[in-house]
Symmetry: C2
Subunit: 117 residues, 2 copies
């Protein structure tokens, strides 16, 4: 995969829409699905689903292959790796708040033990 | 934090823009920065930076506090946690490709050992 800076822009832009996230989530569970099968759960029309698939394909998050009249859509998760890596730097804040929570719980326990004496 | 479905939409939408990502990355390293200090590295004008800060604040990713004439911007990373959690489900694909790479390396090693005999 060529990794130019705009890739991350396109990955996050593709993930903004809940319909596109739902399509990616389904393709994570199923190894390939037809366009019509993917469109079925949504209240929107087929052309609208096709547009979402275009956005996902342009972001490199899905591939489409045609056999006869059936287009099979498959997940191409690689670009999401960079997105996770980008977000990972903030993890220390969550573990820091977990640390504070643990310290708080510990202080409460000591308080209770002191009351029991 | 109230967690309604649109939060994830807004988090990813806030992350689409490289200027906004750069602001978040800076606030990850510095505990609070003034708006003018944040604007300095960018070629865009102050009102454009202010608009980016509005988007980040609406997504709950930063807080702004005013003392005198100085507005201090701070990181509020909590919404990014949900975004990481959402993306995590795809991790198995990357570890799967690492597994395949390891298997390939192993097969090559065996090949080499056989040639040495």
């Amino acid at each position: 995969m060529v990794n130019y800076p705009e890739q991350l822009d396109r990955t996050f832009a593709a993930l903004v829409d809940p319909t596109r996230r739902a399509i990616l989530a389904r393709l994570e569970r199923e190894d390939g699905a037809s366009v019509s099968a993917l469109a079925k759960p949504f209240a929107i029309k087929l052309p609208a689903v096709m547009k979402h698939l275009d956005v996902l394909a342009e972001a490199g998050l899905i591939t489409r292959s045609k056999v006869g009249r059936t287009v099979t859509v498959r997940l191409s998760p690689e670009p999401m790796r960079e997105a996770v890596d980008w977000l990972r730097r903030y993890e220390r804040f969550w573990s820091a708040s977990l640390d504070r929570l643990a310290a708080y719980a510990e202080s409460k326990e000591i308080e209770l033990q002191e009351k029991d004496r």
